[in-house]
Amino acid sequence: IIGGRTAHPGFFPWQLLMVVEDMSRVPKDKWFGSGALLSRTWVLTAAHVLRSQRRDNTITLVPSEYVTIYLGLHDVRQKEAAVKRTVERIILHKAFDPRTYNNDIALVKMKDKVSMNIFVMPLCLPSQEMEGPQPNTLGLVAGWGITNPNLTMDDATGSDHATLSNILQYVKLPVTLQAECKSSYESRSDSYNVTDNMFCAGFYEGGKDTCLGDSGGAFIMYNPDTQTWVAQGLVSWGGPEKCGSKRVYGVYTKISKYARWLADKMSNSS
């Protein structure tokens, strides 16, 4: 999280850390992302978090046994105090495109249920009728990702932990006008494709953003009618520029587009 603030324990009880250790590769790959708790067993995250880290366009799912989930976590150094769960099943959206990150959404079913408490609580999903977030409305994103935009993920997962935030950070971001976001990216390269399944958030001038390690975390918005926080987006991708750069908006998976898909998968798999 770039330009964010330190969360207090219990601010984001749905926030979870997803650690992936790909033992099939030598040396083994290890990375992490975030996710959001949806129910006693289901977790929502971005598809690219659970994809084997190959630099090609194939979609190889990491085996479920390589994934560990930590819930109720505040300080990543105190994982033993968190609720730890292994994974029973991973459902990647079948239309996920690793080149464009279109349909970057996945569901993870944990092997064992979790009990709710002040630090562990699910996040609401938008209803199937609900539209995506409106431009200029504010949302929050939390994560344990890079806080220093000058470093890469490799640096972050290396021995120098100083650039990673051990404590959960969060940032408040406005939803970007879809046309502005598209033109922003398309002006830099034709290969960028901001689809209707995505929305952008961030400030024109930069300074506040999500970054490496925040992937899969929920972009949440407050619904005053139900007085609940609702997941509207998933941290998905951004440009190669430094996180928080001017006119480099963060791109998020638009969850409202997948409300029916989520409902079907969770009901059929329960």
Partner: protein, 430 residues
Amino acid sequence: NITELTGMFGQIQSPNYPEGYPSDLDVTWNITVPTGFRIKLYFMHFDVEPSYLCEYDYVKVSSDDDLLETFCGRESTDTEQIPGREFVLTNSNTMTVTFKTDFSNEERFTGFEAHYSAIDVDECVEKLDEALVCDHFCHNYIGGYYCSCRYSYILHSDNRTCKVECSDNVFTEKSGVISSPDYPNPYPKSSDCLYRIELEEGYAISLQFADIFDLEDHPDILCPYDYLKIKTGVMEFGPFCGDKSPGKIDTNSSTVQILFHSDDSSDNQGWKFTFTSIGAPCPVVHPPANGTIEPVQEKYSFKDQVQIRCNTGFKFVKGGDEVEAYQIECQKSGIWSSSIPTCKVIDCGTPRSLEDGFITFHTKDNLTMFGSHIEYSCLALYYQMEPELNTTYTCMENGFWVNDELGTDLPTCQPVCGRPARSLPPLNKR
């Protein structure tokens, strides 16, 4: 000088007829025709010496040692008869004609010429007065007769009386009427009837005889001709005869044999009775506590069934299973098939637990009996009930905890989403 004649007809003449007959004659003609016939004899000519009481010459006609006629003379007088135009008819199928003359005749007498013929006997008419030749119908034919019977009767081996086939009549109904054939018209002769009433063991049969009771009897000997006997396995009633009804007979048996014998005579009205049966009585049953019985009767007897039900909220417990209703039956021994079970209050048992929820008992001592109420709740803050409704459950008579809206289904406690216990700092206006 005897002449045997066996033809169906024939002629006899005095010796030397029509010349004068000799003296000292003693001539006999024995005429025999088949049975079923009689013999008719008539004279065409008769001229025999007359004498007082036919002491000199005469013609005697007899049958079966009975003297039928004695003729002599030329004409009938007060003391002597000539046949004239009359004929002699026997009652049987034999006739003997004897012609006797003495040693002298004062004049010449020409004798006689006679003819005989066999005459069919109409037994149906002639035997009407004798012991009723045929019981029902009589049919005459030349040389004999035969009898026949009304519908449903059969001719006895005596070929005269009509009897009925009534040797195996079985009654298995609990009540009914049995009577002698054709009652109250005369019962058949020469019959031996057997009626059996056979009921299931456990019933006792009673017979109630009708007032009209009429069987041939004897003033001195007990029922020598016709009689009625009632037999059970161990007892015998009767014989009954005469005109006094036996009234009511309680046999105390589930099987009864009625034997009726009639001889070949008499003309009596017979008998009739109504039989009823009652089962072995069982003790009066009383409903169990918190239960009812049906039907409620003053008396119960064999085969009666009583259904026992527990009041709402109570059930029988039999062999570990809860039973809705219970039925007992009065057995032939007079003992109910089973004792009356007790009604036990229904226990819905420990209610099912609710994941991430808890149960509140609304009755003292956390009772789970019929009528008890419980309420499901979810752990506050983190879970909410779904569906949101009154979650009170009542222990019903079917043994289940039932909610007005969900029935036996349980609500669920769903995690509350998007509502952290620790609120984020309020958004600041810029």
